[in-house]
Amino acid sequence: MPYHQFECSECIPERLHHAVDKNPGEQLTDALPLGYLNTIPGSISERGCAYCGAKHVIGTPMKDVIHLSHGPVGCTYDTWQTKRYISDDGNFQLKYTFASNMKESHIVFGAGTMLKSNIIEAFKAFPEIKRMSIYQTCASALIGDDIEATAAEVMEEMPDVKVFTCNSPGFAGPSQSGGHHKINLAWLSQMVGTGEPEIFSKYVINYVGEYNIQGDQEIMKDYFYRMGIQILSTFTGNTHFDDLRSMHRAQLNVLECARSAEYICDELRVRYGIPRMDIDGFGFEGISDSLLKIGYFFGIEDKAREIIAEETARWKPELDWYAARLKGVRVCLWPGGSKLWHWAHLLHKEIGVDVVSVYTKFGHQGDMEKGISRCEPGALAIDDPNELETIEAMYKLKPDVIFTGKRPGEVAKKIRVPYLNVHGYHNGPYKGYEGWVRLAKDIYNAVYSPIHRLALLDISKDEIPTDKEFETRQTLSDVKLSDEIKNSTVLRQCTSSYDPIPALREKMKKNESYLFPDPETGELRKVPVEKLMKNKVVDVEQ
């Protein structure tokens, strides 16, 4: 696998070892892009900072928490509401963001006193919220403000509140990944083991590295509940602060995004003996294998097989409708950290597209090992690309669509390549069987949009065709299809509703479908919906 030389980066020789062409017959031991290194000066990276990684990615999805940034207001504003990590109890974590609003005078005279009064003010403004996370920023870290001491003072004065402090200023790592690392370990050290949960099932897991983007967690929760598995906590999507204090009581850590959350799983394994099981929540084969191995762990593989059979029968004909029409479509899989490996092989196998490039903004070499292994030969793998490199790659690879975040996505649109938002999603959730069909539908709509066809024409120089009649996505996509597929009575378009999450929440409230085995007797019984919505956690005397 030779390293890939971008023409635009010839003036930055260090960039050479950050990109690799995957050629047939070559192996990971031949070449592997460098990763998780400081961005090279002169390279305009798309990365976030370590504060953003800690607060925005991992901290903020917790739903009953005041998330307060100790720093200038811009830090908190720029990490607010840009990702759709929804919750099932009113979205407090999305509606509000808090900052201590440091100014120049605080840099000179200190901001600890102001921070304390701001914490108290925030708790008084929202008296129903009793939990808080405080995030250090570059400004407050550089002047040495002691957020831990301030939090301790507040907790002494207000015994009914708990405050978690995250010391991950923006400069504390090469990218947002440094922040993931810091908040994982901070949570483990400060919070895990301080709460004792009520165990209501024989089978108990933590669902780790899952942030409930547009409802992903709620899709997976439905599967787990149908298997009778109690989710003690989700790290950290759609979860309560106190649930995460009781992570030490799970029998198994089911790990989804290893890039952002493997650290806490590894430490929970060392300190508490809880095994780490990595899963794929995306793609039919990925989910099926994952549910099956969780089933094997608890001895309930038959339950897993029932769900796999039911969901596959329900959604496979719809996935195949899109796969037939997306065969050979060229895509660049350019997400942040984990989706390049969660998706690469199953996009090709199950949706039919060709992944011509994978990249990661903040992944480590381990993520590249997975991504390169899972994509097909011929793909270009890039670590921490700069904007000019992505533009050069798009001109060279000529993809039909890019899967990325909204900043690089807008760059793609400028050169007339459509993009799907795979961070906050276009029309997610994308997890689960239904979610994978929703992704296929979004790809189809992006690639075959008649409006996009018009955008490919440059009215300043191209001849505008006048002989074209009305076009739809399907007239464009079905041109090369056989009659057998076109007229199939088995295959059908996506029938998922506009938003499948309200129906799932209604199902939970009705509480007619979920039975959990008693931890002592194994007898199957219903658990009150209040407990499913919010489990009881009792403080441990420290």
């Binding site: 031991t29 493997e262 590894d266 780490r276 099981m277 294998d289 094997y296 070499q365």
Partner: protein, 118 residues
């Protein structure tokens, strides 16, 4: 089974693992050694009809769950396994373990594998 045939069959199993299994990619070399040893060891035992459970610990249960899932996938993807003798399976799985150890640990270019902490 001659060596060339065994190598070809081993390559098929290796292809499946590198494409589908996440357990081989733990971020530290010592974890990868244990994962390869325990999961591939148990997979070989299950394929050969041997007892693959050592104790009732959650750790053993975890390795066994991965091995059971891998065995099922191997049989689904590679029907030739059903007609392969236990002796040949043992040889192929031994070669596979050696190859995985090389690709993922000894020959790996991942510089994080030797970091001392998580």
């Amino acid at each position: 089974m001659d060596k060339k045939t065994a190598e070809e069959k081993m390559s098929q199993l290796e292809w499946y693992i590198t494409k589908h299994c996440l357990w081989q990619y733990n971020s530290r070399g010592w974890d990868r050694e244990i994962q390869n040893e325990r999961i591939l060891g148990k997979t070989k035992q299950i394929l050969c009809g041997e007892n693959a459970r050592e104790d009732d610990s959650t750790a053993d249960k975890y390795y066994w769950s991965e091995a059971m899932t891998l065995t099922g996938a191997f049989k689904r993807y590679f029907p030739w396994l059903e007609e392969t003798s236990k002796e040949d399976i043992t040889v192929i799985m031994h070669m596979l373990k050696e190859k995985m150890d090389y690709t993922m640990i000894k020959g790996s270019l991942n510089v994080e594998l030797t970091k001392e902490q998580y």
